[in-house]
């Protein structure tokens, strides 16, 4: 039988004497928390200060229009229909370019991730071409594809393609090998391993890539529209700048920012839906 000795000095008071002092707590910090309201309060304070600075004349309205002036400009753009007109052009270019670049990037990324010959060739080409600023190719693309929507869409597609291909093959590489070996040990065919193991395993990296390529598409559409377009948010911002209509210019910037935020939200939603298992 176990001998359970009865403790006689278990009381916290028992061993206490005059020299006793609490152990110093050293485990604080290094765990920042996101306060939901803090960010909004800070934003409201900045906008409030900005409005105040403009209203009492600290800042020239030509150089920095007040938030209320920008809001008015957005409202007027919306009711005149110009906002939707420009936005629809930009959306069409982003949508088509992103979709084309993403489809090609996913196919090439999977090929690089799964096939040795494709990996050898693909990584060399991607390493060589990825660092080129894609907007620099726009004049060449105009030469090849003519003046119209095609060169702008192609510029966006090129920018999206490389980042997508890299995030896809990185995602394929990051799928734990033990899961693939497990599937092989059950004689699961190649295509089913790709569909049921590699695709879902690579999805976190692919979605993270989408977040980056959405920003790239936004950046490239504005640049391309500034270089050679009559309509689109980029063309509108450039036009407003040339005419010193800084309230309109910043209205365009705010719209771009809202558009970026909306895409971010969409990707967050996708991640919540598709990666709930994490």
């Amino acid at each position: 039988m176990l001998d359970r000795a009865k403790s006689t000095d278990a009381s916290p008071q028992a061993g206490r004497n005059a020299d006793a002092r609490p152990v110093e707590f050293r485990g604080g910090g290094f765990a920042p928390r996101v306060g939901r309201s803090a960010g909004w309060i800070a934003l409201a304070l900045v906008i409030g200060f900005w409005q105040l600075a403009g209203s009492i004349g600290w800042v020239n309205a030509l150089f920095l229009p007040t938030p209320s002036a920008i809001a008015r400009a957005i409202y007027q753009l919306a009711i005149s229909g110009a906002l939707w007109h420009h936005l629809s052009y930009s959306l069409m270019r982003i949508g088509a370019g992103w979709l084309l670049g993403t489809i090609a990037g996913v196919i090439v990324g999977f090929a690089i991730g799964l096939s040795s010959p494709a990996r050898g060739v693909g990584i060399t080409f991607i390493s060589a071409l990825f660092p080129i600023p894609k907007i620099a190719l726009l004049p060449l693309l105009i030469l090849w594809l003519g003046i119209g929507e095609q060169p702008k869409i192609a510029t966006i597609a090129l920018g999206v393609f490389f980042s997508t291909a890299i995030s896809v093959y990185s995602g394929v590489d990051s799928v734990p090998r033990n899961l693939i070996r497990m599937a092989q040990s059950f004689n699961v065919p190649f295509h089913a391993i790709v569909r049921r193991v590699i695709w879902p395993g690579a999805l976190p990296s692919i979605l993270a890539g989408f977040r980056i390529t959405a920003s790239i598409a936004l950046l490239l559409v504005v640049s391309a529209e500034m270089i050679g377009a009559e309509f689109g948010i980029g063309a509108f911002v450039l036009q407003a700048g040339n005419l010193m209509q800084t309230d309109q210019l910043l209205a365009g910037v705010v719209i771009l920012s809202l558009f970026g935020l909306a895409i971010g939200r969409l990707i967050n939603w996708l991640e919540t839906r598709l990666l709930h298992w994490r």
């Binding site: 734990p176 033990n178 899961l179 070996r181 497990m182 599937a183 092989q184 040990s185 059950f186 004689n187 699961v188 065919p189 089913a192 049921r196 193991v197 879902p200 395993g201 298992w277 994490r278």
Partner: protein, 257 residues
């Protein structure tokens, strides 16, 4: 169905891992493979299960698998290898999806397997929500679902705490009790090997060679008896004496690597 390791040698580049390893796992027999760290136990298991091509020799099957078997050689992995995006039920069903069984048959097998492994209440749970022991239970359920002739177990308990190990060891002993299924059980834990195996193959340090094959002179059921304890302890001491010096050398080798 017998599984034969026939003069298997293997090297990774210049590193020789296995040297001329031969033994047979007879139908329904449980063979444990023990040896010092890095002696090629897991490599040998991968070769036996067809996941790695040996540099020389071969792994062979003799005799027909049981008629209902969907995957005669089935692994139970040390790290469980569960699909984190699938529920318990989907993980167990995974190997059945490509066997030509229809949905109803698959469901019946999954239901039966989950019941046998006490997982029926966890079918909608994701792996991240389970403890290590429960995850390995899912790994075992997935292996049982394909009705294997021989289970290939690669240190299946080594990632678990001691109490969970004890519980799962009891499950293994129960599952293997009727002799319908054989197993190759790779472990560095001599006590586990003695509890579960009919025979123990002792490998030397790298490159692994068969140093000794020890037959356990007691039935698996009889090993729980008090009277058997002394005999088992003596066996464990004998095994340890076989491995000890080489385990020390292997550890030094790893430290110097």
């Amino acid at each position: 169905m017998d599984l034969i390791a026939d003069h298997i040698s293997h090297h990774f580049g210049a590193l020789e891992v296995l040297d001329n390893v031969s033994f047979t796992v007879r139908a329904g027999e449980v063979v444990a493979i023990v040896g010092p760290s890095g002696c090629g136990k897991s490599t040998l298991l991968s070769i036996l299960g067809g996941l790695l091509r040996p540099s020389a020799g071969s792994a062979e099957l003799r005799g027909a698998p049981p008629p209902a078997s969907l995957n005669p050689l089935t692994f139970v992995f040390q790290d469980f290898a569960l699909l984190p995006w699938c529920t318990v039920e989907q993980n167990v069903e995974f190997p059945l999806l490509h066997t030509g069984l229809n949905g109803n048959d698959r469901r019946a097998i999954v239901d039966d397997t989950l019941r046998r492994t006490s997982l029926a209440d966890f079918r909608e749970t994701y792996p991240k929500q389970l403890s290590g022991g429960m995850r390995q239970r899912v790994g075992i359920a997935r292996a049982l679902a394909v009705r294997p002739a021989i289970l290939l177990m690669d240190e299946p308990l080594s990632a678990l705490d001691s109490q969970t190990r004890e519980l799962l060891m009891e499950d293994f002993i129960r599952l293997l009790a009727d002799g319908a299924m054989g197993a190759v059980y790779v472990t560095h834990n001599l006590e586990e090997a003695i509890r579960i195996a009919d025979r123990i193959v002792v490998l030397s340090r790298r490159p692994g060679r068969v140093r000794e094959t020890i037959t356990i002179p007691l039935t698996r059921a009889g090993r729980g008896d008090i009277e058997a304890r002394g005999q088992l302890l003596a066996l464990q001491t004998e095994l340890w004496s076989l491995i000890r010096e080489e385990a020390i050398d292997a550890e030094r080798e790893v430290q110097h690597a």
